[in-house]
C-alpha cells in the first residue's frame, strides 16, 4: 500500500494530523496498534476528568449544608461511575474513528516499524493481524509516551497501580499511597480522597507540582491538608512489600511501602494500594528509527527542527515523543504544523501561548510567561493579581479560593502570561491565551467589558490591578506600571 502521508499513532497528535492531511488532499493512513484516541482519550485526560468531576460533585453534595441543603444517604456506586466514564471514552474514541473514516483516512491496526528508506519513500512494516508493508512519501511519528516505572515498584494491577489502572478499579480503596506529587498523582489522589479514601502523597522534591507557581501550589496544598490528605515532601520511596492477609476467609493483599524521610530516617507506610505516577517517557524504541536516520536524544526524545521535521526529510515527529510539555493540545498543534509544512515549506511552529491546566482542587491554569521567565527572557514584568474572593460569581458558587495573576511587560503593557488557581480557571485561561497571541495589552483586557456576574471579571480586575486601579479590592499602593494612556 502506498500513501502520501502515513501517521504513526492515533492519539490527539496523530489523529488530528491525519484528518488535516486528508483535508489537504493527501492520501493518508493512520497506524495505531492500540485504541484510537491514544493515552488522552483512553487512559488520561478524559477518563480522569470524568472521575474528577464526579468526585467534585460528591464533595459539593457533602458540603451543601452551608447552602441549606442537607443530603442523606449519599453513596457511590463505583461500578456505575466507571461504566459512565467508559461510555464517555467510548463515544469519543468512536467519534475519532468516524471522523477518520469520513475524511477518507485509512485506519490500519498494527504496530508500525520503519524498515528502510527507498529514495524519498519511507517503507514501514506493520504487524497487525497479518504483516504488511506500507510505502509513504511523508511520515508523521506521533507515538506518544508511556508511564515510567520504578524498578522496585513494578505494576501488578492489584496493589501497585499506574494512572491507567487507578482509573479502572473495582472497589474504592480504604487507603492509598501516591508516589509522585505531580499533577497526575494529585488529580487521582484528590479524586479518591473525595470518595473517602485515606490518601498519602510521597514526593521526592521539596514541593508538590514541581515547576508550577508556588503561590498556586500553596492554595492547593492548603486544601489537600484540609481534606485530610497527608503530604510527605522530600521523601523517597525505597522499597515495597506486598502483604497478604486472610480475614474471614477473604484473602486480602495490601501494600507496605518503606520511605526515607527528609531527616534520613525510614518509615513504613501501609495502604490498600500504591499509585505510581513518577513520570512518563517517550515511546521511541522499536520504531526502527535507526533504519531511516531519525535522530533521538539521549533521553529517547526524537529531535526535530522548527518545522517538526526530523533529521530525515519527510519524516516528522510530534507530541510526547519529541518532549517538552506532554500535552494533548501541544501534540495536536504540532501535527497541524507538520501537515502545513508539507504544503508550504515556509511553515514553522509559531506559538506564543500554550495554555495548560491541572485539575486539582482548586484548578490551576497557566499560559505564557511567569514573572520569572519573563524577566529571564528580557522583559520588564509587572504582575496584576486579583483574588477570587473579590468576584461575586465565585462567592455564589461556594468556591472562592485562589486568584488570577496577569504578567505584563511594564514598558509596553503587553500581556505576557497568566497564572491562575481557583474555580474553573481551566476555562478562564483562554482569554489570556488569545490576548497573548494577539499582542494585546493589559489595557485591552481592562477596557473590554466583562459580563457580570461571571468568573472572567477576575481577569479584568487583574488587568486593572496592573495599573493599581482595581475596583473590587483595595490596592494599598499603586502597582509600579507606568500609566499608559487608554487611547493610543
Amino acid at each position: 500500500m502506498t500513501f502520501d502521508v502515513v501517521v504513526i499513532g492515533g492519539g490527539p497528535g496523530g489523529y488530528v494530523a491525519a484528518i488535516r492531511a486528508a483535508q489537504e488532499g493527501f492520501s493518508t493512513a493512520l497506524i495505531e496498534y492500540n485504541k484510537l484516541g491514544g493515552e488522552c482519550l483512553n487512559y488520561g485526560c478524559i477518563p480522569s476528568k470524568a472521575l474528577i468531576t464526579a468526585g467534585h460533585l460528591l464533595d459539593k453534595i457533602n458540603n451543601a449544608s452551608t447552602m441549606g441543603i442537607t443530603v442523606q444517604g449519599v453513596k457511590v456506586d463505583l461500578a456505575k461511575l466507571i461504566d459512565w466514564k467508559a461510555s464517555i471514552v467510548k463515544s469519543l474514541t468512536g467519534g475519532v474513528g468516524q471522523l477518520l473514516k469520513a475524511n477518507g483516512v485509512t485506519h490500519i491496526t498494527g504496530k508500525a516499524t520503519f524498515s528502510k528508506l527507498d529514495g524519498d519513500k519511507k517503507i514501514i512494516t506493520v504487524e497487525g493481524e497479518k504483516k504488511s508493508e506500507i510505502t509513504a512519501s511523508k511520515v508523521i511519528i506521533a507515538s506518544g509516551s508511556e508511564t515510567v516505572h520504578l524498578p522496585f515498584l513494578p505494576l501488578d494491577g492489584e496493589t501497585v497501580l499506574g494512572s491507567k489502572e487507578a482509573l479502572d478499579v473495582k472497589k474504592i480503596p480504604e487507603s492509598i499511597i501516591v508516589v509522585g506529587g505531580g499533577f497526575i498523582g494529585l488529580e487521582i489522589g484528590t479524586f479518591y480522597s473525595k470518595l473517602g479514601t485515606k490518601v498519602t502523597i510521597v514526593e521526592a522534591t521539596e514541593g508538590l507540582l514541581p515547576g508550577t507557581d508556588r503561590e498556586c501550589v500553596d492554595v492547593v496544598a492548603k486544601k489537600l491538608k484540609k481534606k485530610g490528605i497527608e503530604v510527605l515532601l522530600k521523601t523517597k520511596a525505597k522499597s515495597f512489600k506486598k502483604i497478604s492477609s486472610n480475614i474471614k476467609k477473604q484473602s486480602n493483599n495490601s501494600a507496605e511501602l518503606t520511605v526515607e524521610l527528609e531527616d534520613g530516617s525510614t518509615k513504613k507506610l501501609t495502604a490498600d494500594w500504591v499509585l505510581v505516577t513518577v513520570g512518563r517517557k517517550p515511546r521511541s524504541k522499536d520504531l526502527g528509527l535507526d533504519k531511516v536516520g531519525v535522530k533521538v536524544s539521549d533521553r529517547g526524545f526524537i529531535e526535530v527542527n522548527s518545522h517538526l521535521e526530523t533529521a530525515t526529510p519527510g519524516i516528522y515527529a510530534i507530541g510526547d515523543v519529541i518532549g517538552g510539555a506532554m500535552l494533548a493540545h501541544k501534540a495536536s498543534k504540532e501535527g497541524l504544523v507538520a501537515v502545513e509544512h508539507m504544503k508550504n515549506p515556509a511553515t514553522t511552529i509559531d506559538v506564543k501561548a500554550l495554555p495548560w491546566a491541572i485539575f486539582v482542587d482548586p484548578e490551576i491554569a497557566v499560559v505564557g510567561h511567569s514573572e520569572e521567565s519573563a524577566r529571564a527572557a528580557g522583559w520588564n514584568p509587572v504582575v496584576g493579581k486579583c483574588p477570587f474572593v473579590a468576584n461575586g460569581r465565585a462567592l455564589t458558587t461556594g468556591e472562592a479560593e485562589g486568584f488570577a495573576k496577569l504578567i505584563v511587560d511594564k514598558d509596553s503593557d503587553r500581556v505576557l502570561g497568566a497564572t491562575m488557581v481557583g474555580p474553573d480557571v481551566s476555562n478562564l485561561i483562554m482569554e489570556v491565551a488569545v490576548a497573548i497571541e494577539m499582542g494585546a495589552t493589559s489595557h485591552d483586557i481592562a477596557l473590554t467589558v466583562h459580563a457580570h456576574p461571571t468568573l472572567p471579571e477576575t481577569l479584568m480586575e487583574a488587568a486593572e490591578a496592573v495599573h493599581g486601579k482595581a475596583i473590587h479590592f483595595f490596592q494599598r499602593k499603586a502597582a509600579t506600571a507606568k500609566t499608559v494612556q487608554a487611547s493610543t
Partner: protein, 468 residues
C-alpha cells in the same frame, strides 16, 4: 540450521548470487550480511537471522538460486548463544533490499544518516532546532496569529514592517494590510532592481496574487514556488484498443524479436524520372496514377531473386531454427490511415506488369484508407515497402513487418549537386533505406541487396530485361 534463501521481493522467485560476504568457519552475528543476491528488481543483502558459525556454503557465486533453496549451513549459538534462539524463521526478517546498482550512492544514505546519529547538524532541511518555547520572546513585534502566518508565508520578517495598528508600548501592532503593503512595495523594488523575485507562498496571499513578492535580502528564501501539480488532472487517459493495439503489439514483437539494423543509400534518379514521366502519360489513358512505387516494387523483386534470404522468415521451434525462403513475391505497401498504419499486399508482384502494379497500389491504397480492404488483401506479404515521399525528411529507420526479415523505406526525390563527367551539376537523388533482421541478413548482404535495387532503379532499362 539450513539457511534457505528468504523472500527477496514481491513476486521474485530467484536471483543471481552475486557475492558471498562470509565463508565457511566465519562467526556471524544476527543481521550480519551473509550474501548479496541480484534479482531483476534489486540487489539485496541477505542478513543472518541467527548468530553462529558458518559451516558450509551450498551455492556458488554467479549461480541462480531460488527462494527456499538452502544456500548455507549455520551452526547456531557459537558466537552469542542467547540471541540465536530469538529468531527462528528467516522469512520474517525483512531483507535489506537495495534498489539496483544504478542507485548505489543513494542506497548508502540511510546508513550514513544513522552513523552520524550522535553528532550534530545532520538536518538538511532547515536547521532551526525546535525549542518548544511557547512564550513571547523579547523584541517580538505584536501581531495576531493570522498576520504572523501571513508574514511567514510571504517570507517577511515582521521586524522590518512598520505597523499601523494600536500601540503596544511604543510599537504599533502590525496588521494584515501592513504586511500586504510591505510585500507589495518590496516586490516592486526587487523587480525594478532586477533582483531575483521569489514567491514562497502556496496560498494565503490571494489579495496580492498578481504582484510579485520579493524575499527580503536578510532572509533569503530557499523555497521554490510550490506547484500544486496534479498529474491526474493534467493528463487524459484513453484505452488503447483495435488497430492501435494491434500495431503496438506487432511493433513490440518485431523490435524485440528481430535485432534491427538500418542501411541507407541514395542514387541519382534522372533516368528513372524521365522514364516515369513517359509512363505516367501512357498510364493516364488507363486512368491510372503512375508513381515511382511500381518501379521500386519491380526492382525489389529482381533483387530479392538475387538474394533469396532477404525474402524469407526465420522460424524457431524447440530450440531449432529454420529459415523459410519464399519463392513467391508478395510485396506489402505501408499505408497511413486515420486509425493507423495498414499494409495491403501486392500478391505475386513478379508476375505482374508495372501498369498492373500501379493499378493495384492505387486501388488497394484507396480501399485501405476507406477501411474497406479485406483481410485477404492485408496478409501474406513476404517483403514490405514504406514510402515517406509525401511526408519529407531525409530517411527513417522503419521497423520490419515481422516475420519478414527486411523492409525498404523510400524517400522523396531531392535536387542536389551531383558530379557528372567531372562537373558539378544539379541532379535528382532518391534515398532508400533498408532495415534488416540481423539474425538472417548481414550488413554486407544488405549493402549488396540495396545496390541491386539501386542498380535497377538508376538504370531502369535493366528492369526491362527482367520483365515477365
Amino acid at each position: 540450521m539450513n539457511f534457505e534463501l528468504p523472500e527477496i521481493g514481491e513476486g521474485v522467485q530467484e536471483g543471481e548470487l552475486i557475492a558471498w560476504k562470509v565463508k565457511a568457519g566465519d562467526v556471524v552475528k544476527i543481521d550480519q550480511t551473509l550474501v548479496e543476491v541480484m534479482t531483476d528488481k534489486a540487489t539485496v543483502e541477505i542478513p543472518s537471522p541467527v548468530a553462529g558459525t558458518v559451516k558450509e556454503l551450498k551455492a556458488k557465486e554467479g549461480e541462480q538460486i531460488k527462494v527456499g533453496q538452502t544456500i548455507l549451513v549455520i551452526e547456531e549459538g557459537a558466537a552469542s548463544g542467547k540471541a540465536a534462539t530469538k529468531t527462528e524463521a528467516p522469512k520474517a526478517e525483512a531483507p535489506k533490499a537495495t534498489p539496483a546498482p544504478l542507485a548505489k550512492t543513494e542506497v548508502e544514505a540511510p546508513k550514513a544518516a544513522s552513523k552520524t546519529t550522535s553528532t550534530q547538524a545532520t538536518y538538511t532541511n532547515g536547521n532551526t532546532p525546535y525549542t518548544g518555547n511557547f512564550q513571547v520572546e523579547a523584541g517580538n513585534v505584536p501581531a495576531s496569529p493570522y498576520v504572523r502566518s501571513l508574514a511567514a508565508k510571504a517570507g517577511v520578517d515582521l521586524r522590518n514592517v512598520q505597523g499601523t495598528g494600536p500601540l503596544v508600548g511604543d510599537v504599533a501592532r502590525v496588521l494584515e494590510e501592513d504586511v500586504l503593503r510591505f510585500v507589495d512595495t518590496q516586490g516592486r523594488a526587487a523587480t525594478t532592481s532586477g533582483a531575483p523575485v521569489s514567491y514562497a507562498s502556496a496560498g494565503g496571499l490571494q489579495k496580492i496574487e498578481s504582484t510579485q513578492v520579493a524575499t527580503q535580502s536578510k532572509t533569503p528564501s530557499k523555497q521554490l514556488p510550490v506547484h500544486n501539480f496534479n498529474f491526474e488532472e493534467a493528463v487524459e487517459r484513453k484505452p488503447v484498443r483495435g488497430l492501435r493495439r494491434v500495431i503496438a503489439q506487432a511493433m513490440v514483437r518485431s523490435k524485440y524479436t528481430a535485432p534491427h539494423f538500418s542501411y541507407v543509400d541514395e542514387f541519382e534518379c534522372s533516368n528513372l524520372m524521365a522514364l516515369r514521366e513517359e509512363m505516367k502519360k501512357s498510364a493516364e489513358a488507363y486512368g491510372i496514377k503512375f508513381s515511382y512505387l511500381p518501379f521500386v516494387v519491380k526492382a525489389l523483386v529482381g533483387a530479392l531473386k538475387e538474394f533469396p534470404e532477404v525474402n524469407s522468415s526465420l522460424e524457431e521451434k524447440d530450440g531449432q531454427m529454420e529459415l523459410i525462403i519464399k519463392k513467391f513475391y508478395h510485396i506489402g505497401i505501408a499505408v497511413a490511415t486515420d486509425s493507423g498504419l495498414i499494409v495491403p499486399v501486392i500478391k505475386h508482384a513478379d508476375k505482374k506488369s508495372l501498369l498492373q502494379i500501379a493499378h493495384e497500389i492505387q486501388t488497394l491504397s484507396a480501399k485501405t484508407r476507406a477501411g474497406k480492404a479485406t483481410s485477404e488483401e492485408l496478409k501474406g506479404s513476404t517483403f514490405s515497402i514504406t514510402s515517406m515521399g509525401n511526408v519529407g525528411g531525409q530517411f527513417a529507420t522503419p521497423i520490419i513487418n515481422y516475420p519478414e526479415v527486411a523492409i525498404m523505406g523510400v524517400y522523396k526525390i531531392q535536387e542536389k549537386p551531383v558530379v557528372k563527367n567531372g562537373q558539378i551539376v544539379v541532379g535528382h537523388t532518391m534515398t532508400l533505406s533498408l532495415s534488416c533482421d540481423h539474425r538472417v541478413v548481414d550488413g554486407a548482404v544488405a549493402g549488396y541487396f540495396c545496390n541491386a535495387v539501386i542498380d535497377r532503379l538508376a538504370n531502369p532499362s535493366k528492369l526491362m530485361l527482367e520483365m515477365v
